[in-house]
């Protein structure tokens, strides 16, 4: 006794612990360790106060510093069993903070929870339910479902609402409970207490979001609640439910559009407004009126300047982007304004939307706007802007770009943006455009020249890709340089080129070689003409050739000692070519030099073009070359290769045959000569086995496409269209120009066959857990278990043709055979059918879903109209009025046990769940 007195006297209270923690700025971990040590001792105490305080401290430590408390689970249960409420509370809190489904002491809590749930004190009950909502596992659920079920009928709404909510977890963990308690959950939707209704709807909302198929039948009830709901929380949940339901049942959209629009117009709560908008963007995209109202509201709200509303507005617009592009165009100004918001999250969303809006007509304007923003944006967003410009414009072979001169200047501008990181991509696109778009080459060369001349750019590592591309372009198309080759030579040889990495520098040297060859060639042709004229022009020209030689020598000579093999070799090549021009007085030597250069220029004048990645496959197999036999004989040899290649996977020659059989290549198609195809297959096989020896061919982004033997485009003056078709591509099986719809000003973009072979985008596979499936089928059963007598009617009333549970399918298929005749009649009659007797059959025709879907609605509508004795002028309005009437009749029916259900005439208002429910437990 005395010892516990001492203990409690000296125990650190909760407040002490917190105070201590606040003081400990530095030695915190030591303090924590000490506190934990104390807790470990104290929690074993027999004195409840000490024990409770210790547990309280432990819970705090877990939250504040991540202390482990799993070791204390037994003590937690002990505290939970204490009689005093405030003590119990500590235990329950600790349990809900630390227990999980796998905690081993959960078994011990079953009886305790049962006892507490049967307590007289409603707060004890609520505490137990609360705890249950955290720790419930299937075992507990099996044991305690009946208690929960009883509590749902409690006279105190405080308990009812909690018991209703905990049902969500019970259902998910223990689907068997659905059979027992689902009816009661549905009853709670009509509870007198709005909080209970809200709780029931919350549970149903969560269940619906998981798998909406099962809850379509409840749509009328949700609709009724939504109509009379004045509580925003409840309305939000209901609207959310409809968001899920309308996606699988478009007919529902018609009905719900009216109330949704009303809510949007009337409500002051932005949360409800945006929930309505979300539902419209999810399932009501066909309802022009609703969408228009959404867009109007969105624009209004986004203009308010609240960043949260901007975010939500952009999100909603993104959902409309694909189906209603006009919505974006109308809000374009607001969206563009968001680019400068200062919040990266909003900026990003706006950027996505803007890129989604880009079309051939506005691409130039949009890109200019984006570039302007890029200048002022911070580095990371600037790069995002740039990369999305590059991506969008180059999409599908630059299909958006019609003025390539403009696009090339954009690329050059992008290269110059201060924190740009997209040098490689810009370079790739420059080369790509230069090769593909013949008519724009002069512009590309001009842009490249500008980039090369700027010494400041050489120091920026991010731009190496661009410079590399520019150097290659000017070398290749030097005859198009606006101010002649000499200044290009100077640019390529400027001292700062030493800052370049070797790989780029090597490209520069090759450029120098090409430029010089072209320059010297010009010189000789000038000389020939000058022999007739007698001016001093020649001397000047000769002088400048000499200057060029001197320039090259001075700058290239040091590179002969470069550590990089490639640079060294190219430097040597260049210098070797200049050897004859050592002494300009030695006419023979110079002449010989010119001869070499002339030969070289011939080599360089061959046009380089893009090459399809599949070019090799199109090489015709020469006659008489039988590849199959020989390769067969190679079998044993190949398998010995395997030993080398895959050590540890030794194959004998016999297993090689089997292995070969595993590869099922496509059977030769009828059009192709079989020889070509089988050889291609063999090639493919070979490739498959010796992948490592092949050059990578599937990379679409070749920096420099391999040269290709096409006759040079000699007639540079010809119109680009005819030029490309006549001189370059004629007679060349590897390259083909892509036919494009007549676009007067758009130049031809060379496209290669099979270029767009993208790996197939696999459709996202939705994986449903076994549990979800269980929940689904259980609810399906619960909803249709109104009594077996109603089965036929329920079948006839099947609303969703999309989501048939497998259990029903078999029955359907059995029936469909029986009903075949009737079915075909029903489909054939289609829209205008007013024959009542057809209607019940409609729902059963599940094997012709897509076709019977709409007719069935019309048929049913017509029938309803007749029954109600009213005719609708406007179909839309008619539907809406009908729905209300349906509800009225339904309400009437509820009192008179709904006799109409059997006749099965109402599609959506199938209130199967409103019958008095047999109590399964009692």
């Amino acid at each position: 006794m005395a010892s516990t007195m001492m203990e409690s006297l000296f125990q650190r209270t909760m407040d002490d612990l917190v105070k201590g923690l606040r003081l400990q700025m530095i030695g915190e971990s030591r303090y924590l360790a000490k506190a934990l040590e104390e807790v470990r001792k104290e929690i074993k105490s027999t004195d409840p106060i000490i024990k409770v305080t210790a547990l309280q401290k432990l819970t705090y430590l877990q939250m504040a510093s991540g202390a482990d408390m799993s070791w204390a689970s037994f003590h937690i249960v002990e505290v939970m069993t204490l009689t005093k409420f405030s003590h119990k509370k500590v235990g329950y809190l600790a349990a809900s903070q630390s227990f999980h489904e796998g905690t081993d002491v959960l078994v011990l809590t079953t009886n305790l929870l049962r006892k507490d749930m049967g307590s007289k004190n409603e707060y004890e009950i609520s505490m137990a339910i609360e705890c249950l909502s955290r720790i419930l596992n299937p075992d507990l659920a099996a044991a305690l479902t009946s208690e929960v079920f009883t509590l749902m009928a409690s006279s105190r709404s405080f308990i009812r609402k909690k018991a209703t909510l905990v049902l969500l977890r019970v259902f998910l963990r223990y689907p068997e409970a659905i059979r027992v308690a689902f009816k009661r959950l549905l009853e709670k939707m009509d509870d007198a207490d709005p909080q209970v209704v809200c709780a029931a709807v919350s549970v149903l909302c969560e269940l619906t979001l998981k798998d909406p198929r099962a809850y379509l039948n409840l749509a009328p009830d949700f609709y009724r609640l939504l109509e009379k709901s004045s509580n925003n929380w409840l309305s939000i949940k209901l609207v959310k439910i409809f968001g899920a339901l309308t996606q699988i049942e478009p007919r529902l959209g018609r009905k719900i559009a009216g109330p949704l629009c009303d809510h949007m117009r009337k409500t002051n709560a932005k949360s409800l407004l945006f929930e309505c908008i979300r539902t419209v963007t999810l399932g009501l995209l066909d309802h022009e009126g609703a969408v228009k109202l959404c867009v109007e509201k969105l624009r209004e709200n986004m203009g308010l300047g609240d960043p949260n509303l901007k975010y939500l507005g952009l999100k909603a617009l993104a959902a409309l982007m694909d189906s209603h592009p006009w919505a974006l165009t109308e809000s374009k100004e607001v969206i563009i304004k968001c680019l400068s918001d200062g919040d990266i999250i909003i900026q990003r969303r706006a950027l996505v939307l803007i890129m989604g809006m880009v079309s051939e007509n506005n691409v130039e304007e949009t890109v200019q706007v984006l570039l302007r923003y890029a200048q002022s944006a911070d580095a990371s967003f600037c790069n995002e802007l740039v990369s999305s410009i590059l991506q969008t414009c180059s999409r599908a072979r630059y299909e958006l770009v019609s003025d390539f001169g403009w696009y090339v200047s954009v690329l050059a501008d992008i290269a110059r943006i201060p924190h740009g990181e997209h040098g490689d991509e810009v370079g790739r696109q420059l080369v790509d455009i230069a090769l593909r778009v013949e008519s724009v080459r002069t512009d590309v060369v001009k842009a490249s020249r500008g980039l090369l001349l700027d010494p400041a750019l050489l120091g920026r590592p991010a731009l190496q890709g661009v410079l590399c591309a520019a150097a290659w372009i000017v070398g290749e198309f030097i005859e198009r340089a606006p101010l002649g080759p000499f200044e290009i030579l100077e640019a390529l040889l400027q001292p700062r080129t030493r800052l370049l990495p070797f790989s780029v520098h090597a490209v520069y040297l090759q450029g120098v070689l090409k430029v010089f060859v072209s320059y010297a060639n010009q010189h000789t042709s000038l000389k020939k003409t000058e022999q007739e004229s007698t001016t001093s022009h020649a001397a000047m020209k000769g002088g400048s050739l000499r200057a060029a030689v001197e320039l090259i020598k001075a700058n290239v000579a040091p590179l002969v000692n470069s550590v990089d093999m490639e640079v060294q070799e190219r430097a040597c090549n260049v210098l070797g070519l200049l050897q004859p021009f050592e002494d300009f007085n030695d006419a023979d030597q110079v002449q010989a030099g010119f001869g070499t250069l002339a030969a070289l220029s011939e080599v360089f004048s061959l046009e380089l073009g893009p090459v399809s990645v599949h070019a090799q496959g199109r090489v015709q197999l020469p006659d008489g070359l039988s590849t199959e036999d020989n390769l067969d004989a190679l079998g044993p040899m190949d398998s010995s290769d395997d030993v080398l290649l895959h050590t540890g996977d030794v194959r004998s020659s016999t297993t090689y045959r089997e292995w070969e059989a595993e590869f099922n290549f496509q059977a030769p198609s009828k059009e192709d000569p079989s020889g070509v195809n089988s050889s291609a297959a063999l090639l493919q096989q070979h490739r498959h086995r010796h992948e490592s020896f092949y050059l990578p061919s599937d990379t679409a982004s070749l920096d420099y496409p391999p040269p290709q033997l096409t006759p040079s485009a000699a007639t540079a003056e010809a119109a680009p269209q005819s030029l490309t078709e006549s001189s370059i591509f004629n007679g060349n099986p590897l390259v083909r120009s892509m036919p494009r719809q007549a676009k007067a000003r758009r130049p031809v973009v060379v496209a290669l066959d099979d270029e767009d072979d993208l790996p197939g985008v696999s459709a996202p596979v939705s994986k449903k857990g076994l549990k979800d499936e269980l929940v689904f089928s259980a609810i399906r059963k619960a909803l249709s278990a109104d009594g077996n007598k109603d089965h036929d009617a329920a079948d006839g009333l099947e609303i969703s043709p999309l989501g048939e549970p497998s259990s029903r399918k078999s029955r359907h298929s059995r029936r469909s055979a029986k009903n075949k005749e009737k079915t075909s009649v029903g489909v054939g009659v289609g829209l205008g059918n007013e024959d009542v007797s057809q209607v019940p059959e409609v729902g059963k025709k599940e094997h012709r879903r897509s076709r019977h879907h709409r007719p069935s609605r019309h048929e049913i509508l017509v029938v309803k109209t007749n029954k109600d004795g009213s005719s609708s002028e406007n179909e839309n309005e008619g539907t809406f009025e009908l729905s209300e009437k349906t509800h009225k009749t339904k309400q009437k029916h509820r009192s008179s046990h709904r006799h109409s259900q059997r006749s099965g005439k109402s599609p959506v208002s199938a209130p199967q769940n409103t019958d008095p429910i047999p109590d399964f437990l009692l």
Binding site: S96, S133, K162, L165, A199, S202, N308, Y311, G342, I345
Partner: protein, 143 residues
Amino acid sequence: MTIRFVLLVNKQGQTRLAQYYEYLTIEERRALEGEIVRKCLARPDNQCSFVEHRNYKIIYRRYASLFFLVGVDGEENELAILEFIHCVVETMDRYFGNVCELDIMFHLEKAHFMLEEMVMNGCIVETNKQNILNPIQLMDKTT
């Protein structure tokens, strides 16, 4: 499950209250809290209150030196959660009288009690301040 967790964090990023509606191990909780705090606390007040993180959407609001962060799944209504946060703060204000960090530190279990009354299974059950405070005030009376 809509609300996945509720966090109260001070300006220094120390957790003052954490309530998880799905089970995460202590290590996962610590890591998650660290990441979220780093992401949200760095954002200035004039930026939007929604941050996407992993598969959560974090909705947060700052009150004086305390940040209220609520993690929800993708389908939850963001503005409703902001209203919920405000409701939490008002309830605490009513109980503690101008609530501050210290109130929550020294009365952690009461703060938990309030949250338990308001949220269950990740769904909001009660938004009426008096209803929320009833059991707590009753408990105060008896002890």
